[in-house]
């Protein structure tokens, strides 16, 4: 049962054999039982529970890390867990990730503690400050100094080294621009108020974006995301956002003299900036050969590189590339020992916590009594309702788990592997798939088209939907017919719409080009990439606009008619009531619908697939389709990586939507 545990224990140099280990665990469990009995609980029950927990935990860990020394028969295929966990590179990275997570948790706890003590706390009525212990102040100050200064020192050092040692003066101008922009945004944020502040910052953003676009125009970018030497348009927003964040932190903390808090905030901000710099470079927006303007990226990412250098210590202990027998054994010992220690500590902590929290009982219960309590008749009504709820929810949850949650986890794992069933060894390759993805032109083009397609579609769907909703809400005899008709495009299969429109847009035999030719507009529709994109987007708008209209109609019906009458009495015309009643009242629902449309349509597959097959070239290929093609060519892990990128985009859009919705609902 615990062969996984035996090995490290033996290899740790101890003479501990299996019985002794179990003896140890049994003793520890007996201790737990004794502790429980001190509080007049059944010692047998708690001892058994504790023992069972430990056995379960060890079984679980063992299932995660299978026996690495196992021989496989010819043709026998090792499972995914085996392949993954026997890969030394994966385990090295895994331990690194665990270490970093532990560090983050530690830092967060530290911040919480320090913030509690660095705040001057007041007694109830009198404005008398409770003096914070000096030791905490000192710890807080030192911690803040380290967190804050580390990235700053590294930035300054890297920049100075680049300028003076490497004689690479091209970064001076961008760095100055960066600092000035951040300072400007911060000052604007701090000095202005309300609408003025918003306006000024928006103007600044617009100016900066326009300036960058103008700069980019001097060297034509190949696509929306590709910079070919120029800086991506959105890049100057980074210093602006930084400036605003710093200013808001300063403004809140400075007047209250919360120096330590402020220092922590600024320190975390600078680490965040370092991370952004690293991400920007990693995502391939930055081109070594051509771009000088964003060499700034290599300065900004310096702290992350430094962290990476720290991890070198671990890597040096366990070389990733050469996984010899020696290394494997070395790693197994170290990691198994580590895992064992962590398991024991966790288990001990949980057991101690549980026993500590056990309430005192008036009389002691025997095991048989405890068991009798567990039968369903003894449960309270509330508890029985809970049981019923869990039973009711079980099928739905099981269905979703089997087809969504669990496969999605597997997709994530797959995305850091190299897996093609035609070329069997399934290996862990860290972020190689994503590196490949960031330079894949087809992925970029499809991402670009998907975003364009979704944004344009949603805009027109909501706009036209509003108009149609007004028609559906108007009081006229054919209203019922109109509502029925508006359901039809939603209800018919997307495939039918796509293929029907494919035929209608056909450049030779189609009706739409023919009708347009008669009015003198002779464009090729499905041959020309730009027009093909327009055509696909048009079909999507046709398909989903009436659906959006129906949803908006529900919102329109929710607006009280009295508001309009009151406005009419006050002399408002039709446009006024639209501007001041309809739109503000509908805003939450408009935002909700836009968010849903954006998120759903980002995953669109069937329309371009059935209509154009992604062509001409890759002009109308959406991301989902690209994933489908990669699956068809058996590049499973690469397909997984692309779909993870899609999920990230969906998450960002959905998050922004929820954020906007909160703002709108609060202001409404």
């Amino acid at each position: 049962m615990v062969d996984w545990l035996d090995k490290p224990l033996i290899s740790l140099g101890a003479t501990l054999a299996i019985p002794r280990m179990w003896l140890l665990v049994a003793l520890a469990s007996a201790l737990v039982g004794w502790l429980a009995s001190r509080k007049r609980h059944s010692s047998l029950l708690w001892g058994a529970l504790s023992f069972g927990t430990f056995a379960l935990a060890s079984e679980f860990v063992r299932s995660l890390i299978p026996n690495a020394g196992r021989e496989f028969a010819r043709g026998e295929k090792p499972g995914a867990a085996y392949v993954l966990w026997t890969d030394p590179a994966f385990r090295a990275d895994f331990v690194l990730v665990v270490l970093i997570l532990a560090l983050i948790v530690l830092v967060v706890r530290l911040i919480a503690v320090l913030r509690r003590y660095s705040k001057p706390t007041y007694l109830n009525d009198a404005k008398e400050t409770v003096v914070t212990p000096r030791a905490y102040w000192r710890a807080s100050a030192v911690g803040s100094a380290v967190v804050l200064s580390l990235p700053l020192i590294l930035w300054v050092w890297t920049a100075l080294w680049l300028i003076f040692v490497a004689d690479y003066t091209e970064i001076v101008l961008p760095a100055l621009g960066f600092i000035i922009l951040a300072a400007l945004a911060g000052v604007l944020w701090a000095w202005l108020e309300g609408g003025w502040r918003t306006t000024a910052l928006l103007v600044l953003m617009g100016a900066v974006l326009a300036g960058q676009a103008r700069f980019n125009a001097t060297r034509p970018p190949a696509s929306m995301f590709e910079s070919s030497g120029a800086v991506p348009v959105f890049m100057p927003l980074i210093p602006l956002i930084l400036g605003i964040l710093v200013a808001s932190a300063m403004r809140r903390a400075w007047p209250q003299r919360l120096v330590a808090t402020l220092a922590w905030q600024l320190g975390l901000l600078s680490w965040g900036l370092a991370l952004v710099g690293w991400l920007v470079k990693f995502m391939g927006y930055y081109d070594y050969q051509n771009s000088y303007a964003f060499d700034l990226g290599s300065v900004l990412e310096a702290p992350v590189r430094w962290l990476a250098a720290l991890s070198e210590g671990y890597y040096r202990l366990i070389p990733r590339e050469v996984a010899t027998e020696d290394n494997l054994l070395h790693m197994e010992r170290m990691e198994a020992g580590l895992a064992f220690l962590v398991g024991v500590i966790l288990w001990g902590a949980v057991a101690a916590h549980v026993v500590w929290q056990l309430p005192y009982r008036a009389e002691r219960r025997r095991l048989s009594e405890e068991l009798a309590r567990l039968s369903i008749k003894r449960l309270s009504l509330q508890q029985r309702r809970y049981v019923l709820a869990y039973v009711l929810i079980l099928p739905a949850l099981a269905l979703r788990t089997f087809t969504t949650f669990y496969p999605f986890l597997q997709t994530i794992i797959l995305s850091v592997q190299k897996y093609n069933p035609a070329f069997p060894p399934r290996r862990y390759i860290a972020l190689k798939n994503f590196e490949k993805l960031s330079t894949d032109l087809v992925v970029r083009e499809s991402l670009e088209f998907t975003i364009l397609f979704v944004v344009v579609s949603t805009f027109f769907q909501v706009l036209l939907g509003l108009i149609i909703a007004h028609l559906l809400n108007a009081n006229f005899r054919l209203r019922g017919v109109a509502r029925t008709i508006s359901l039809i495009p939603w209800a018919i299969p997307m495939v039918v719409a796509a293929i029907g429109f494919r035929w209608m847009f056909d450049d030779q035999f189609g009706m739409i080009p023919d009708l347009l030719r008669r009015v003198g507009y002779t464009e090729k529709w499905l041959v020309n990439p730009e027009n093909a994109r327009v055509a696909v987007t048009f079909v999507n708008i046709w398909k989903s606009t009436p659906f959006a209209a129906l949803l908006l109609l529900a919102g329109l019906q929710g607006i009280s008619q009295e508001l309009y009458e009151a406005a009419k009495v006050d002399g408002a015309n039709w446009f006024d009531s639209l501007r001041f009643i309809t739109v503000p009242m509908l805003l939450p629902i408009i935002v909700t619908i836009s968010m849903f449309l954006l998120v759903w349509q980002l995953a669109v597959f069937d329309l371009p697939f059935a209509m154009t097959g992604g062509g001409p070239g890759f002009a109308t290929t959406v991301v989902a389709q690209k994933v489908y093609y990669e699956i068809n060519s058996l590049n499973f892990s690469y397909a997984a990586a692309i779909s993870i990128a899609l999920v990230i985009v969906v998450t960002v859009v959905g998050g922004l939507g929820i954020f906007t919705l909160r703002r709108v609902e609060v202001s409404a």
Partner: protein
């Protein structure tokens, strides 16, 4: 002051007599004009699809295209039924759509009752998880799903397809059913409980009849959504015994060039695919609209 007051009054009195034809009828004229435009916008693809399906094949490939077939014929339908194992695919489509609709509605009705009525520990988390997971693109779970299905021998089976599809539409169904159940007054159930009924009896005797309209609405909506589904049957149905009509449509149109693509058969098949959906919309439009908009307004 009084003068101004009089002026306003006189205007208010005189205006109805001076109203022009436009100001009396303008509103309804614009409404009807908008209605006609709307019908044209929605209807024109249908016109072309239906017309293409009854146009003889040679006439389809004419320049300029014919807007009215000179000699309407049903040959296209005959040819399509001969070329595709049509009845088989039709049966598969029905099994797939009905199965998914029923399974998803059953599972989500149970879940929705638990989520709406019983505030059990973790209910919010489960609800959020269900709703958020609906934003996950289908394509993101395709590869692991395929491997799992191979393990469980579920590829090319109706059960497998129904499982996938009902899970896909489950979150949306739960969302709408929860909001529906929330609106039923809880007092009815409490009264029954006080009278000595147990909770299972309450659910079967009292709640079920009350949410029956919502259940049938969701069954219709889910049938339509499943009937229209392409990706899952395309990937997980690789033999004739499970392929659905939407897959047939894709396979028919997979010929690359315009000339060899069987537009006649495609349009005939399209008409067949639209008919059941259209019937359902005509029968249940009021219910469907109510059901769909409930999701948006909460």
């Amino acid at each position: 002051m009084t003068v101004a007051h009089n002026e306003i009054e006189s205007v208010a009195v005189v205006q109805p007599q001076r109203r022009s034809w436009w100001s009396r009828h303008g509103r309804s004229v614009t409404t009807y004009a908008a209605f006609v435009l709307f019908v044209l916008f929605i209807g024109f693809p249908f016109y072309f699809i239906v017309v293409s399906s009854i146009t003889p094949r040679h006439e389809l490939f004419s320049i300029p295209p014919s807007y009215l077939p000179s000699s309407p014929t049903l040959d296209n339908y005959q040819r399509m039924i001969d070329a595709v194992p049509f009845t088989k695919y039709l049966r598969n489509s029905f099994i797939f759509a009905v199965g998914s609709a029923v399974v998803s509605v059953l599972a989500s009705a149970m879940a929705a009752y638990a989520l709406a009525r019983i505030k059990f520990p973790g209910s919010n988390v489960v609800y959020m998880l269900l709703i958020l997971s609906s934003a996950l693109p289908q394509i993101a779970v395709l590869v692991p799903m395929f491997e799992t299905f191979q393990q469980f021998h579920l590829i090319n089976t109706h059960q497998g397809l129904i499982l996938l599809m009902s899970s896909l539409i489950l979150p949306f169904t739960v969302l709408i059913l929860v909001s529906f159940i929330m609106q039923i007054p809880v007092e009815i159930e409490e009264a029954a409980l006080i009278d000595g009924a147990n909770i299972v009896q309450v659910i079967i005797r009292m709640v079920f009849p009350l949410i029956l309209p919502a259940l049938s609405t969701m069954t219709i909506i889910n049938f339509i959504i499943s009937w229209n589904e392409l990706l899952y049957p395309l990937v997980f149905a690789q033999r004739d015994n499970t392929k659905t009509l939407s897959v047939a449509l894709i396979e028919l149109s997979s010929d690359a060039s315009t000339y060899t693509r069987p537009w006649d058969m495609l349009s005939a098949l399209s008409v067949f695919m639209v008919i059941p959906v259209l019937l359902l919309v005509l029968v249940g439009q009021r219910m469907i609209i109510a059901g769909l908009s409930r999701g948006a307004v909460k």
